[in-house]
Symmetry: C2
Subunit: 197 residues, 2 copies
DNA sequence: CGAGCGCTTGATTGAGTTCAAAAATCGTGG
DNA sequence: CCACGATTTTTGAACTCAATCAAGCGCTCG
């Protein structure tokens, strides 16, 4: 239980096994079934989720009722509306479970506690923030530069396993295209890979 | 001189006037003419720029030679390839001056120095990071959800003054459309605003 | 087993691109 | 201050990629 989270804290955030068990005592976890909603638009997001097992998504719903997926979070990923959490504003996004998922709740108190226990935790947090920003820049760059096909190829490269676990229409939503278009992109890619011309 | 930067440090980062003059002594500034390049793809970005006066842009150049603008930075904005600076990797982006611009160089040493002088500087840095992430989320969401027209309207709302200072083809590049398309979007908007139907 | 959901396919439409050229604006030197 | 060249913006026409609308297929899960 919580092997992934333990591994993260010990290897990435530099906690000793002892510090881990101290801190882990008052840790809140939960299990969600596929489809359950963890965060709703309008709610204030007062914690970050660590995905111990399973798969979550962060998405918005636009005026015309369409979903737009901003992020996937498989095992070992953190997911949260950081803005809402940090600024205390109501969130503009939803988070729900794509698969049955076990998460660890990280609220402010917990973060404070771990920061006290280990100074390197603070810097690992900083690392995650910067990593996140790098990732978002790449994504923006991709969205303003690339065609649907190029974006799909980048997606496969970045998330090889998700390509199988996530329904296709969600991948389309993530890429900013319709499911029909993605289906055609895939068809075209398949054609080019089999025919050698 | 450096009024904007002083105001930022004193009001946002909570430095006293005294602390400011201490810290400001070994501050490096520079003036760039419009068109000059501050950061090149492939270079490691080892500082953040604070724009005291003028206007900078951050952009990539894709394989086919086209520029894609990721960010504008007018007065009082910070601009940097944070990933490159933080991870020490070569940057994938360029930064250059759109107008004649005065910048303050913020390198690691300076940041350390100010963090020592004022604890609240550290948290204001954190604030900027989170703000930046919020901003990038909005941008991604916009790019996967909105039409060219909606994106342009959002741009005007977010950067009313830039709409006048930045050449149109750069706004188009920021929005991920061609200059021709932006010209047509504007024409259509003008038509709808004058005719009352 | 049937209803619903996800994926595919086809036909059509439409938003935005491309290419080309004219019109407007800007900057610079004479 | 004007004139000239360069850059930016506009406009037009043809085209392309992706969206929309609609139908059919296959799978799964109640």
């Amino acid at each position: 239980m919580l092997d992934n989270f333990r591994r993260f804290l010990e290897q990435k955030a530099g906690l000793t096994a002892e510090q881990f068990s101290e801190v882990t005592a008052d840790l809140r976890t939960a299990r969600f079934k596929a489809g359950e909603i963890l965060l709703r638009q309008g709610d204030v997001c007062d914690h970050t989720f660590f995905v111990e097992e399973g798969l979550l998504r962060l998405y918005s719903i636009s005026d015309n009722g369409k979903e737009h997926i901003l992020q996937f979070a498989p095992e070992n990923w953190f997911i949260s509306d950081r803005s809402s959490a940090y600024f205390g504003e109501p969130s503009e996004y939803f988070i729900d479970a794509i698969e049955d998922t076990t998460v660890v709740f990280l609220d402010k108190e917990f973060l404070r506690k771990v920061s006290d226990a280990s100074p390197s935790f603070r810097s690992s947090n900083d690392y995650l923030l910067h990593n996140h920003i790098r990732f978002l820049y790449k994504r923006v760059n991709m969205l303003i530069s690339d065609t649907a096909e190029q974006r799909y190829l980048s997606f496969i490269e970045l998330y090889p396993d998700l390509t199988l676990r996530v329904p296709q229409w969600m991948i389309a939503s993530y890429l900013g295209i319709t499911p029909e278009s993605l289906s055609r992109v895939r068809k075209e890619l398949a054609r080019r890979n089999f025919r050698k011309d």
